[in-house]
């Protein structure tokens, strides 16, 4: 038999057969998913993910939803974030249990010690009026005047920080919780990934806020030398050190980066915390900017209470699913009883609503507490300045007027404060 010989039987050409086989093998190797295949895969994964999520199989659901996200289903992203948050929460709970078993008495070395003990939870639940409510109420009821309004925003944050600091030793963890209130103007949030200049400005704003915290803490009469206060100072100092050393931005943090960094942020990896800081300050900046521009109030406010626990992880998901249209309002119901709520309210308040708010009428705006409970704003006090435990915090606006004149430009109205601020 020779290769060159022709096939003895009519019709069968082995050379053609070999060529056909080669072509078909090549085609099989090059077989790639068509767009229809991808869509099918994506939605099947999404469907399975939803099914598993509904059955509280969060680990399974996460893998399927990840596939769905990878194949481009945006709707799967918040659910994926939800799974992550739940899984992280479970991990954190397990970790805390382990730590508590190993270290019954922990020192308060600053925010690096992430205390989510039961006592802390109890204290948080008692004295921690939903801080977002305090601030929002304050905003609603404050006359539209740039300096005052903005200083109130910062003042309330500081007030809460200080109040927490005075109240219990668990307050060493409060500095970050104090800025857990985020007034996230959706418009700004939409612009944020594009205009990274904002981030730099916000970073400075956050730094300024902490500098104020430090200076005011030092200046405050009766500043105790209690352990927790020293720990507080140490924590602030560490934060500032990280802030000053950080060459911002080290790289562009996408929402996905931030989301993935949430576990590290929970572990107080300072670089990650520093990366999160501007985002946590977005709301403050947005609110102050809107007021600075003469808006009666933030027309659209996304009030997301963030804590160092589950809700904190939800922030990127809230951010990622930001609506591009204003006035979009949604609340995500629990996937099923027991599933933590996704905490978000996005609300466009009309002028009439604003007037009602200023008039103190309860409007029933639903806000979510860090614990996942639903609160309404009605019934809470409408004081311009939330009363802290100490009467010396009567009106922070009188003491810390801060003007944000533009991105990256923070000016203190008071000379002494300004001097201290610039001195760090």
């Amino acid at each position: 038999v020779t290769i060159d010989s022709d096939s003895p039987r009519g019709g069968l050409d082995l050379r053609r057969v070999i060529a056909l086989a080669d072509a078909e093998n090549q085609a099989a190797d090059d077989n790639q998913l068509t767009y229809a295949d991808q869509v099918q895969v994506a939605y099947k994964a999404y469907k399975i993910g939803l099914y598993e999520l509904g059955r509280d199989n969060h680990f399974e659901a996460r893998s399927w939803l990840q596939i769905a996200v990878d194949f481009g289903i945006e709707d799967a992203q918040p659910l994926l974030a939800l799974c992550d948050a739940i899984l992280l929460g479970q991990d954190a709970a397990d970790r805390v249990e382990d730590v508590q078993a190993d270290e019954p008495s922990r020192d308060h070395a600053g925010i690096a010690t992430f205390d989510v003990s039961a006592e802390h939870e109890a204290a948080f639940g008692q004295d921690d009026t939903p801080i977002f409510w305090e601030v929002s109420t304050d905003l609603m009821t404050t006359p539209v005047e740039t300096t005052q309004a903005q200083s109130t925003v910062l003042g309330v944050a500081w007030n809460q920080l200080r109040a927490g600091s005075m109240q219990s030793h668990t307050a060493v963890h409060r500095p970050l919780q104090a800025i857990d209130i985020v007034y996230l103007a959706p418009k700004l949030a939409v612009d944020l990934p594009v205009h990274l200049g904002y981030i730099d400005a916000l970073m400075r704003l956050a730094g300024s806020m902490y500098r104020f915290a430090v200076t005011e803490k030092r200046r405050a009469p009766g500043a105790e030398t209690a352990d927790h206060d020293r720990a507080f100072d140490a924590a602030i100092a560490r934060m500032l050190a990280v802030h000053d050393d950080l060459q911002w931005p080290p790289h562009i943090w996408t929402p996905r980066d931030l989301h993935l960094s949430a576990p590290d942020a929970q572990k107080d990896v300072m670089d990650v915390v520093a990366a999160w800081m501007p985002l946590l300050s977005v709301g403050l900046f947005a609110a102050s900017r809107d007021i600075d521009r003469g808006s009666p109030a933030p027309e659209t406010a996304c009030i997301a209470p963030l804590t160092w626990r589950t809700d904190f992880d939800l922030f990127p998901s809230l951010w990622m699913q930001k609506p591009s249209t204003r006035g979009f309002q949604w609340t995500r119901p629990a996937a099923k009883p027991g599933t933590p709520h996704l905490l978000c309210e996005l609300r466009q308040a009309s002028a009439r609503d604003l007037r009602e708010m200023r008039g103190g009428a309860g409007h029933g705006t639903i806000l979510a507490s860090p614990k996942g409970d639903w609160h309404t704003m009605s019934g809470h006090r409408q004081s311009p300045v939330p009363a802290g435990p100490s009467t010396e915090d009567a009106d922070p606006a009188d003491r810390w007027p801060v003007i944000a004149q533009g991105p990256g430009q923070i000016v203190s109205a008071q000379a002494d404060t300004d001097a201290e601020c610039s001195s760090g």
């Binding site: 038999v1 020779t2 290769i3 010989s5 096939s7 003895p8 039987r9 009519g10 019709g11 069968l12 050409d13 082995l14 053609r16 057969v17 070999i18 056909l20 086989a21 080669d22 078909e24 093998n25």
Partner: protein, 208 residues
């Protein structure tokens, strides 16, 4: 010369069980050799199965293409000839179903007649009294596996190895099936009364 029926020897111990055919690496030369060895039988089998279907050669070509694809992809095949006949059988059945004939290749009357003819001339049935029609009827009543083996070997004229490939059984199983088929035929009521020679040494049995 490539021996497509060679079995694995002791030197190949460890790669595959003894008795298994040695693997044959793909080469164009090997493919041409295989075609020269069994191409005619394959084509005649497909022609017989498809009964004059105009696309017979397409089916044959498809079988060779499938074999070549698999052979090239795997690099070597242990029994390319057996695979080729299996492919031919399956492709033929596909083609029959595709053409809506719904004819089983094992019920082809021509093949049944051919099998009866050849069976009548075997030593076991060497008797002038045996009528072809009776043998055909008796063949149709054989158990399925025996019927298939008889039809493939005697009806389509395949070698035992090729029939074994189609029946997906060892060669000796085909032999056993044929023996069993002949024994069944001897007991068949269709052939009762005819002289049948079970073995040359034994006297012919007389059936009433």
């Amino acid at each position: 010369v490539i021996d497509f029926s060679q079995t694995r020897g002791p030197a190949d111990h460890g790669r595959a069980p003894l008795g298994c055919p040695a693997s044959i690496a793909y080469s164009d030369k090997a493919l041409f050799a295989l075609e020269a060895e069994c191409g005619a039988e394959l084509e005649s089998y497909v022609r017989a199965t498809l009964r004059g279907d105009p696309d017979t050669m397409k089916v044959v070509e498809r079988c060779w293409t499938d074999l070549t694809r698999k052979w090239k992809r795997q690099g070597e095949l242990r029994e390319p000839r057996a695979l080729l006949f299996q492919l031919a059988h399956q492709r033929s059945i596909d083609r029959i179903r595709q053409s809506s004939k719904h004819d089983d290749p094992y019920t082809d009357p021509d093949r049944l007649a051919a099998a009866a003819d050849r069976m009548m001339h075997t030593a076991e049935f060497e008797s002038a009294l045996v009528a072809r029609l009776d043998v055909r009827t008796a063949l149709a009543e054989l158990p399925d596996r025996q019927h298939r083996a008889v039809l493939l070997v005697y009806g389509y004229g395949l070698e035992y190895a090729d029939a074994a490939a189609i029946l997906t059984c060892p060669v000796h199983t085909v032999d056993n099936l044929l023996r069993a088929a002949k024994a069944t035929l001897k007991q068949s009521s269709r052939l009762t009364g005819y002289h049948q020679v079970s073995s040359p040494s034994s006297p012919p049995e007389v059936h009433k």
